[in-house]
Symmetry: C2
Subunit: 217 residues, 2 copies
């Protein structure tokens, strides 16, 4: 068993394990077993489990595609945003890692660099580029929380205001009529379409700001 261990190889095995069993299901012992070696061997390549998870995140982020160089900035942003979302959807169990660890390796930063390039080529200055990147990052990360964290799903938990077992549906409907009315609508929508909706609003806003600054310049 046991090809030579490498950082990449270990991180890939960890990603595979997470894809299969979830993040909570990953332990150093099980990972080592998959790799045909001893638990502590991993610590030669990663100082602790958190660093390993970071490594897995970098692996995910490196999967994000880079847009062609010659397209309009709007298309480039759409391309990148969709690609991030698709990577997360290919690895639903691992997607939290994307929210938790920002890209910081060259491979993981490739798509960021490409996005920046696209903005700058279109005439965005440094500040506008930073601003837009931040807004897109926030929207994108939040989308992952919502779509892959099951944010809008029905896992009714307990706890209420001091009394047990309240929150029977009829009572809730009286207290929260609009939540009751709108939640089904929320759940019925297509995730991809809703993602695009908000994305276009942001891109529209960027375009407006750009054209305004053109006119003043």
């Amino acid at each position: 068993m046991a090809e030579k261990l490498t950082q990449m190889g270990i991180a890939q095995a960890a990603l595979a394990a997470i894809d299969a069993d979830g993040i909570e299901g990953l332990s150093m012992r099980k990972l080592a077993q998959n790799l045909g070696s001893s638990p502590m061997a991993v610590y030669t390549y990663f100082p602790d489990k958190d660093a390993l998870l970071d490594g897995v995140a970098q692996l995910l982020l490196a999967e994000v595609d880079t847009p062609p160089e010659d397209i309009h900035w709007r298309d480039a942003m759409r391309f990148i945003m969709r690609s991030v979302r698709h990577v997360a959807m290919r690895h639903p169990n691992a997607s939290r890692l994307i929210n938790q660890f920002p890209p910081h390796t060259p491979d993981a930063l490739a798509f960021v660099e490409a996005g920046f390039r696209s903005f700058r080529r279109a005439g965005f200055d440094e500040l506008s580029t930073a601003r837009c990147y931040r807004a897109l990052a926030a929207y994108s990360l939040g989308t992952l929380d919502i779509e892959l964290g099951g944010y809008f799903s029905p896992e009714t938990r307990t706890i209420t205001s001091e009394t047990r077992d309240s929150m029977d549906t009829p009572t809730a409907a009286k207290l929260l009529p609009l939540v009751t009315e709108i939640t089904p609508t929320l759940l019925a929508q297509d995730d991809a379409a809703e993602f695009e909706y908000g994305l276009e609003l942001l891109l529209d806003g960027f375009a407006d700001a750009m054209s305004r600054s053109d006119r003043t310049a």
Copy 2:
């Protein structure tokens, strides 16, 4: 020691412990000690640790303020969005819980209900309300990841493409000139101002869509 235990009391103690020591620092044993009782006592009120964390999240969400009823929908949304952000900033160690557990108790849903009310009163139909809520939720949750998860901070980790210790700064600058150029700008911005920037873009978009649908109706 030991007032009578309650769901609320336990959740509050857990929140206090998390505020002090972080989520990872919270254990059932330490929590029980703070409460002056035995670890297993908590399990009378919460089926497991995850349910307890959910309870803490509900507590946080219940801290979100409800906007006055008579203001313009745009002001109401600003109000709510800012309040969510401020709650998270009061509990930086606990803020991940907001991303992980959606509101589902009456108290935690109060601000959602108020937001829906504001949209509907302004003439948004069910679908538009759901759409806008989703976009705002995504932006808001992503903002928490970025501002409180330290997303843009410098915690340089390791792992690269197969080789160790690369990613010395000069090399990075060659490979990723724009990342190198723009990252300082990104870090230098004021979090609150950047948050408002993206928020206004979304609100502008909602307003446009509204006025367009008025004209067709």
